[in-house]
């Protein structure tokens, strides 16, 4: 009985570790996808009104704030704003 419980606990732990690793991988893959999409959107969406400003002009935390402002200003779709934000933060 005790052995069964131990085996079960080990199995659950192993499953948890695998799942958490998988989630991390998915998150990284999603970030990479957003970066690629942001790289395509950034020059077009920003230039619609003004020159596209490079990511190095502001700190990542500032881009968080500025992109909220720009999402309002340009009525950007939320997912596109997120992609541009990922690109700006990562392309510094």
């Amino acid at each position: 009985m005790k052995r069964t419980i131990i085996v079960l606990l080990l199995a659950i732990t192993a499953l948890g570790v695998c799942r958490s690793g998988l989630a991390e991988e998915t998150s990284k893959a999603e970030q990479r996808r957003l970066f690629r999409e942001g790289a395509r959107l950034w020059p077009v969406y920003c230039s619609q009104c003004h020159n596209a400003r490079p990511g190095s002009e502001f700190a990542p935390y500032q881009w968080n704030i500025i992109m909220m402002h720009m999402r309002t200003q340009a009525n950007l779709p939320a997912k596109d704003a997120q992609a541009v934000l990922e690109y700006l933060k990562a392309s510094r």
Binding site: L41, V44, H50, P60, Y61, I65, H69, T72, N75
Partner: protein, 486 residues
């Protein structure tokens, strides 16, 4: 001990053998029995001792096994600890990646964050008709305060230097932006009028390709530049990447007209903002829709098509209705945009005050144009240039002379030829881009007003004098501006 007793008995038997006779035989038997018993006892005791020894040996073996296991565990733990220690040392000695550092820094800053953006414009303005040449300065910082990922506060402070006095300050924008979900957002407060493209998207110094505003958004604006109220807005992708649709609907204090004249007249200037609405009980209602038909990968560029409307009662029960359509097109180094808008203002005791305005502009960035054989310095200079042209105009029935001001300011050349019922302007621009948000802009404005319309003048009288405008002389202005977006 037992052996000693047995030996003593045997000795006694031998020594007393002759005396005992038959009686001795039985005693001998008894002694033998006792010897056997003693031997049996000895065997049992030996067996028990052997069993005990066996048990002890097993225990010793078990203890040895346990000791071995403990030694193994201890070695394993030592190895793991050493590895973890080494890993930690490596992590400490290695520099964090930019993303790790950024994440840590954001955690350090907390969720409440603010930043400062905005712009500053320093102008030189010359107008031939008024023989004015002056410098002018305008400073517009934008404070952005992010409370959470769904709440942002924005405040714009405008500081400028008017003629003959100290600085003037105003607050054209102060809003709370509440993100409800991916498709809806509430924007409440005092905001740039979301009518058309100019006020909201093109008015910052470094964003506007020209120094001045196009005529329908200048000193004879058809729509108030700012408004006080609540917006609901958002955007969504309806097709492939780049095919978007966005909307803004709002309710606000709506329009009002300049109260500097004794009675409402045609051609009266619209107020910049209706801060406290006393002119009417009605609200202003506005809507703006935009669509982007081309996918990003189509190769057709980015086209924006928009339509706007603003309606409300400007005085008691008198209606104000405005509508407009606009476009913007961007492809490579080429950018074009234009708008057409109309305004209808119901008058209490006269004919309606109808106005129309439009502009179309074109710009081409020379950064892609090759200049063979030119030195690198020349190429670099040339590739930073952007020539521009814009044509704009307004039609209205009259101009109120009491409102005319030819004092130039940042974004306005001060030409009297603009203050006519039918102004027309050709603006030629040449921008030199020092950085993506730093530009030296040069603009020549050719003011070419058309004849027609009326001049309304009160000149201290409670009733207006109306005279035909007739022909208005042309004018030329030059503006040079250093605009910095920060």
């Amino acid at each position: 001990m037992r052996y000693l007793i047995a030996a003593f008995v045997v000795f006694c038997l031998i020594m007393g053998g002759g005396v005992a006779g038959a009686q001795d035989t039985s005693e001998l038997e008894q002694i033998k029995r006792e010897i056997r018993n003693i031997k049996a006892d000895e065997d049992r005791e030996r067996q028990r001792d052997e069993e005990l020894i066996g048990q002890l040996e097993k225990k010793v073996e078990q203890l040895e096994n346990q000791n071995h296991q403990l030694q193994q565990s201890s070695s394993k733990l030592q190895a793991q600890t050493s590895q973890q220690f080494q890993d930690l040392q490596q992590q400490i000695s290695a520099n964090p990646s930019p993303s790790q550092f950024a994440r840590s820094f954001e955690d350090y800053l907390g969720t409440h964050q603010f930043t400062l953006t905005g712009g500053v414009g320093g102008d030189f303005i010359y107008d031939r008709q008024t023989a004015t040449n002056t410098f002018a300065l305008d400073f517009e910082p934008i404070i952005l305060y992010r409370v959470t990922d769904w709440l942002l506060f924005e405040g714009t402070i405008e500081a400028n230097l008017p003629a003959g006095g100290s600085a003037e300050f105003s607050m054209p924008v102060a809003t709370a932006q509440i993100f409800l979900n991916d498709y809806m957002e509430i924007n409440a407060g005092i905001f740039d009028q979301p009518f058309g493209d100019f006020y909201e998207d093109q008015s910052p110094f470094w964003v506007n390709r020209f120094v001045t505003a196009p005529l329908p958004y200048g000193v004879e604006a058809l729509v108030p530049p700012t408004d006080l109220g609540v917006q609901l807005r958002g955007g969504v992708q309806w097709g492939a990447l780049g095919q978007d649709f966005d909307y803004t609907v709002w309710v606000s204090n709506g329009p009002s007209f300049a109260p500097d004249v004794p009675q409402p007249v045609v051609g009266q200037a619209v107020n910049g903002v209706n801060t406290i609405k006393l002119n009417t009980n009605g609200q202003g209602y506005g809507a703006r829709l935009r669509v982007y038909p081309f996918p990003l990968d189509s190769g057709f560029g980015r086209l924006e098509l928009g339509a706007s409307t603003l309606n409300g009662k400007w005085l008691d029960g008198n209606w104000y209705n405005a509508w407009g359509v606009d476009f913007a097109y961007l492809r490579g180094s080429l950018q074009a945009r234009g708008e057409y808008l109309e305004m209808y203002r119901q008058m209490p005791n006269a004919h309606a005050d109808n106005r129309q305005g439009w502009y179309v502009q074109l710009g081409y960035f020379l950064n892609q144009v090759p200049i063979p054989f030119a030195p690198e310095v020349v190429q670099d200079f040339f590739h930073r240039l952007e020539p521009l042209v814009r044509y704009s105009g307004v039609n209205q029935r009259a101009i109120v002379e009491d409102e005319v001001s030819t004092i130039p300011e940042v974004g306005f050349n001060g030409s009297p030829s603009i203050w006519t019922p039918h102004p027309r302007e050709v603006a030629l621009g040449l921008d030199y881009w020092i950085a993506p948000s730093i530009v030296w802009q040069n603009e020549v404005d050719l003011e070419l007003p058309e004849a027609g319309g009326s001049i309304i003048s009160f000149a201290g009288s409670p009733t207006p004098t109306i005279t035909p405008r007739g022909a208005t002389p042309n004018d030329v202005s030059f503006l040079s501006q250093l605009a910095i977006g920060f």
